[in-house]
């Protein structure tokens, strides 16, 4: 058990290291000079003032130091939780900018991932080997999972937001509201959250349903299912076993898909002007704010790594085979 988690942690550690290094490396080899573009945006009229500002910022961001020092400083700052200062939202620290966006992204990603997983699995399991459902409803699943997230999102925003007027098309909560602890405010949050959630949920739902449908068919055709049928066990029991066993690869699938789902959330946020990481990343790209971009990237990597680790733990708890394997009890 210790060895298993030790290995996993090593991999995650290495991954983080690679991510950080890549993160540090890329902007330093890219064309263009972020300080120059920032200063240009400042729209300062006089050349002398520009030079002063430029030197000042170069110094501030540490771009005038040797590369190795910059790299060491980068790690040092990172370990202190300091992601640097946003260029675009100067002088707000990146961690603060991200901190403001993260609750929204989490509120979008976590429920949509978990709910779509649960509902999709139930649905796929239910449809499998039931001819009518399999041939009518499941094709919808294929269509959903093949949809580009943003396409569905835009269509939803347009149809349910602009045309039907049922939902707002932008923002994390009404622009007329101020955050407060009240039922009204909570409902308002929920109201704004619904469409982005829905578009993420639907696309992911289709994928899980199809995956589960296929998995469970394998399980239903497996030897233990056949054996149970031969012993006259009711379909209910067999399906229950099959579901339980088919869920295991779906858990692995969840880990594999996490990155994709987060990415989907980012794009969806952009469509709904939802004030999460996605909108932030888009703006960071448009404004060449590489400190912010790096921060957001690292945050996502960290989030995905943590989620992966949680999934690892869950998997070990749920699948006796891994546990048995780790205990080395091979009789």
């Amino acid at each position: 058990m210790r060895r298993y988690f030790g290995r996993k942690l090593l991999i995650y550690g290495l991954t983080f290291f690679v991510a950080v290094t890549v993160n540090w490396m890329i902007p330093r080899f890219m064309p263009g000079d972020p300080v120059a573009s920032m200063v240009a945006r400042a729209n300062v009229t006089k050349p002398e003032a520009v030079e002063a500002m430029r030197a000042y910022y170069n110094n501030l961001f540490g771009l005038d130091q040797p590369l190795l020092t910059q790299y060491a400083n980068f790690w040092g700052a990172l370990l202190r939780g300091d992601f640097g200062t946003s260029i675009w939202l100067f002088p707000t620290p990146v961690s603060q900018v991200i901190g403001g966006a993260v609750p929204y992204t989490l509120a979008l990603v976590v429920p949509s991932v978990l709910l779509s997983w649960v509902v999709g699995n139930q649905f796929g399991a239910y449809a499998a080997r039931r001819k009518l459902l399999d041939n009518t409803v499941l094709p919808v699943g294929y269509v959903l999972t093949a949809m580009p997230y943003m396409w569905l999102a835009v269509l939803l925003a347009w149809a349910l937001g602009v045309i039907a007027g049922l939902f707002p098309v932008a923002g994390g909560y009404s622009f007329s509201m101020r955050p407060n602890l009240s039922w009204t405010f909570f409902l308002d949050l929920l109201h704004h959250w619904t469409l982005p959630f829905l578009s993420l949920f639907l696309v992911a739902l289709g994928g899980w349903a199809i995956g589960m449908r296929n998995m469970i068919i394998y399980e239903l055709e497996s030897d233990y299912s056949t054996y149970l049928s031969a012993l006259g066990a009711p379909a209910r029991l067999i399906r229950r076993y099959a579901f339980r066993n088919a869920v295991l690869p779906q858990i692995t699938g969840l880990a594999l898909q996490l990155g994709v789902l987060v990415a989907g959330a980012l794009v969806t946020e952009i469509v709904f002007a939802y004030p999460g990481l996605g909108s932030l990343i888009l703006k960071a790209i448009q404004n060449k704010d590489f400190f912010l971009l790096q921060g957001a990237f690292l945050f996502i990597v960290l989030g995905v790594l943590i989620a992966n680790f949680i999934i690892d733990i869950v998997y070990v708890v749920v699948d006796p085979r891994t546990r048995a394997g780790m205990a080395g009890a091979q009789a």
Binding site: P139, P148, G211
Partner: protein, 294 residues
């Protein structure tokens, strides 16, 4: 997300004959293939018959579909059908390049790790796991934002470079199970080298599996490319369905009632990817009798 089941070595010719028999009778496979091929064909020959260059302005701006402009025109009077057929090309290209590169890397890593085993496996496995957990779209965002993507091919390349790990993992597992089979032992005893054994014995025995892997990678690449295009990190040259979506959205096509601009590219992406997935399930049923509907 579709799982592929273990490939079982059997007499190849018979398998092929049987597979073909079931293939042409498999509704899922045929429907999927028909849609994909129809769109591919449109992408291939369409541009030859459409006179207008995809970005050329014509006089009639914001025109709904007419006999002259089948899919209408954009805000600037560009012919959407022309963009659409060119976009299809780019989208298929990104799928082929991205899916192809990912499949090749996945196969090389998977075969070598699975067949050679030992330290090589350890190292490759670790590499795979690392690339696997890094959220690939986030990486692509960073890379694209900094380096800029010029052409569809480069976009496909980058997508391919990030998409291979799950394929490698799956192929490794398959290779692992085939490695100890008699026919592989036999080949090894008769003195074949590693490369030869992989190419002659192992790969052909999981060819259906490899093909399905490629299909999934292809679909994935198309979707990722469209996301990148949409947030403005697409290729700066040429037309793709994702770029069309981005443009339509940027110029508020839906709000201005120009559904003919926004709907076709998204629908085409959905159709291509969805049809591929459906075809993949169909293939799975063809190769794996247990899954056929009874």
């Amino acid at each position: 997300m579709t799982t592929i089941q273990e490939a079982v070595p059997r007499e190849r010719a018979a398998v092929r004959r049987e597979a073909l028999y079931f293939a042409v009778r498999n509704g899922k496979l045929m429907t999927g293939l028909t849609i994909v091929l129809a769109l591919l064909l449109l992408g291939l020959i369409g541009p030859l018959f459409v006179a207008a260059a995809p970005n050329e302005y014509s006089v009639k701006a914001m025109s709904p579909p007419t006999g002259e402009h089948w899919f209408g025109t954009t805000t600037f009077g560009q012919d959407i059908f022309a963009q659409f057929v060119h976009g299809l090309r780019a989208t298929f290209a990104v799928g082929v390049v991205g899916g192809g590169i990912a499949a090749v890397i996945g196969m090389v890593v998977g075969f070598v790790a699975g067949y050679v085993g030992g330290l090589v496996d350890e190292v490759l496995n670790m590499l795979t796991n690392i690339v696997l957990v890094i959220p690939s779209l986030a990486v692509l965002l960073i890379v694209n934002a900094y380096l800029g993507i010029r052409s569809v091919a480069v976009q496909g390349l980058f997508i391919g470079l990030t998409q291979w790990p799950w394929a490698a993992r799956a192929i490794r597992a398959q290779t692992f199970s085939l490695r100890t089979r008699e026919f592989v032992d036999l080949a090894r005893m008769s003195g074949s080298g590693t490369g030869r054994i992989i190419a002659r014995e192992i790969a052909p025995n999981m060819s259906s599996y490899l093909f399905m892997t490629f299909i999934l990678l292809f679909g994935g690449s198309v979707l990722i490319a469209s996301s990148l295009d949409f947030i403005g990190l697409g290729p700066t040259e040429g037309v793709s369905l994702g770029l069309m979506l981005q443009n339509a959205n940027q110029w508020s096509a839906l709000q201005l009632g120009m559904w003919w601009w926004f709907v076709p590219p998204g629908a085409a992406i959905t159709a291509i990817v969805g049809a591929l997935y459906v075809a993949n399930v169909g293939l799975d049923e063809v190769f794996n009798p247990k899954l056929r509907e009874t």
